[in-house]
Point group: C2
Chain length 244, copies 2
């Protein structure tokens, strides 16, 4: 039984079911667990001793919210996160999550910070957490992110992407070649079609999908170890990826 890779539509459907009257989850709960899983994944691969300065790149949607939660937890873990957020989200939860980061004295670079260009902050970072676009992303990449993605790639810094690397088509992957090239991927809930060929280290988070939902959608998720919020998936080799 292999894991099911989700279309964008199915990912959306699962998310809606979790937050429906039936699923009964609030977005606050899901985002908290998702962001925690992202922070734990980064901390598993990149130690705070060697990679203390994390640049958390946040988009304006729910993916950016996951990034804000992750930034806070990374701060709690002893990292020095900085948030790059050129288009702050307008949802109330987004603002609250941002305030929580402010309270931890996590610096946020918004468009008004003309003194801090992305290039400058990249030069002072050790690792990138990419929470720009999620499974509701539809190409093309628009400003200001179209100019940012190549800069992130060219920085030479390791990149941890959340759910779907930014710029990748949720189903077709990075065929267009405009997306990020992450070293690590933290998939939330279940992997998306577009990441079948991803050959880096791949983790799964979102330990809130019930057995009933797993069966309903035929997800065949792997077992999480102990009381961890993340599980590492078997790595896809170049060879296997050719066959997919």
């Amino acid at each position: 039984m292999t894991m099911r890779y989700l279309t964008a539509k199915l990912a959306q459907q699962i998310d809606e079911e979790l937050m429906s009257a039936t699923g009964a989850f609030s977005i606050d709960q899901l985002m908290e667990l998702a962001g925690l899983a992202c922070a734990q994944t980064l901390a598993t691969v990149y130690s705070k001793e060697k990679y203390p300065r994390v640049l958390v790149c946040c988009g304006p949607g729910n993916q950016g919210g996951d990034g804000l939660v992750a930034a806070r937890h990374l701060g709690m873990f002893g990292y020095k996160p900085t948030i790059w957020m050129p288009k702050p989200g307008s949802k109330e939860i987004y603002k609250r999550l941002k305030t929580q980061c402010d309270n931890m004295h996590i610096q946020t670079l918004t468009p008004t910070d003309e003194t801090h260009s992305l290039r400058d902050i990249l030069a002072r970072s050790d690792v990138i957490l990419d929470a720009i676009f999620g499974f509701s992303f539809k190409p093309p990449v628009r400003a200001p992110f179209d100019a940012a993605l190549p800069l992130l790639n060219q920085s030479g810094l390791p990149i941890v992407s959340v759910d779907i690397p930014s710029g990748w088509d949720v189903e077709k992957g990075n065929d267009a070649g405009v997306g990020l090239n992450p070293d690590v991927l933290i998939t939330l809930t279940a992997p998306k079609e577009g990441v079948r060929k991803f050959t880096g280290r791949h983790f799964l988070g979102g330990r809130f999908v019930t057995k009933a939902m797993e069966e309903e959608f035929g997800l065949n998720l792997p077992e999480y170890p102990g009381f961890s919020q993340i599980v590492e998936l078997p790595r896809v080799t170049e060879d296997t990826s050719q066959k997919l």
Copy 2:
């Protein structure tokens, strides 16, 4: 610098500050992290292989909400939790958390389950998670809990208490002798005055208190290890406890 033990009033004040416009946390977020810390503590001490059947005892307030979150995570970790909830809370979040447990087929015993007495379910349990009363508890213990606490104590099962063992005065501890005798305590945010003399294994959870708040309230919290949501506190020996 020793940890600060909180009065009931101070615990209340910290909680309010976290959820104020300044703190910006929602109760959903705090409860999720608190309940996760409770589940992880139980799982750290009592393995699912030896202690699969967890009786999660929930009061009608926020403490009970933490218990419901913990029950869900314990289910996710592979335990077989059962919820004993003789006075279900009326808050909307409490109902949602209950639905989330229902969706995992976690059985809940409410007052209407006349076929399941507490005595019966204790005979079919391996460990108790006590989430009945929290830091807003004021004696005396009222029905139906007055009859329940002695039954829980007499069951001989190990007990993990959340924040303050049920029946203990938040500041004076178990001087009255009517409270539970837990083996393990998971303190949330910072320890309460009443547990100074607690000699069992003692964990701290609630890794959401900012450094600024820690300083404001002089909490002197210990460092959490790695990316854990809990940290074990040094054990108070009978000797040390005499001196306190």
